[in-house]
Amino acid sequence: MSESPKKVMITVRKAPHGSIYVQEAIEVMFIVASFGMELSVAFIDDGVLALKSGQDTGELGIKGFMASLGALTDFEVTKVYADQQSLDDRNLSEDDLVFIGEDEETEEPVKAKITSSENIAKMMAEQDSIMSL
């Protein structure tokens, strides 16, 4: 087995709030990143809805995960991608996306990187493990 850090991708394909999958996936992201593995996260299909700005679960009485999502990069979760096709299907653009933290070097707020399904597919092919959550 190679000695270089393992490449792990977490895929998030479910909509937020209607189920806990997204919230609990974010908890996994923090832990996996802290273990020194090379983590990428791909939001695909309904998963891109989790990246929409302006979410507010207050009236639902649900704590939600928006604060955690806004701090992904603070916790070393920096390779975060959103599938272009999934966004297009849902009439979402980069303007609609939430900030997931700050760029380590520039300290500018950053969002998930919108990329093609083909690019995500190529990334998937390079992973040692894919954690579908």
Binding site: K6, I20, E24, E27, I31, V32, F35, I130, L133
Partner: protein
């Protein structure tokens, strides 16, 4: 081949637990190693000793206890377990509660991660 199996759904409600069990049995029969089984989301319900299915149907928690007894690390995520009221008191024997770090560790140390869910 060392496998880590991640199970994301509860027993009976979804087939995930059953499919995972079938893969584990086939892997062991082929001489492969199950490095660990990790339960997340509703998967934590799989090891609840209080489950009481009909006599003529499979007892899912007991299956996990048997695998645990044979030496396989059967782990339930503490955060997911706490949310769902799964505590040490209700665990079947030879299974344990631990942190998400265990999932990370198992994944790092395995050749394959296979996920069963909904």
């Amino acid at each position: 081949m060392k496998l880590t199996i991640l199970i994301l759904e509860g027993p009976y409600n979804h087939q995930a637990s059953d499919s995972a069990y079938q893969l584990i049995q086939a892997s062991l029969a082929s001489g492969h190693e199950i490095h660990g089984v990790f339960f997340y989301h509703d998967g934590v319900y799989n090891v609840n000793k209080q489950m009481d299915p009909p006599q003529d149907d499979r007892h899912i928690a007991n299956r996990w206890a048997e695998l645990g007894k044979s030496g396989i690390d059967i782990v339930v995520c503490i955060a997911a377990a706490k949310r769902r009221g799964i505590t040490d008191e209700v665990l079947v024997p030879d299974t344990r509660i631990s942190g998400l770090g265990q999932l990370a560790k198992m994944t790092m140390e395995s050749d394959r991660l296979v996920v069963f869910g909904d």
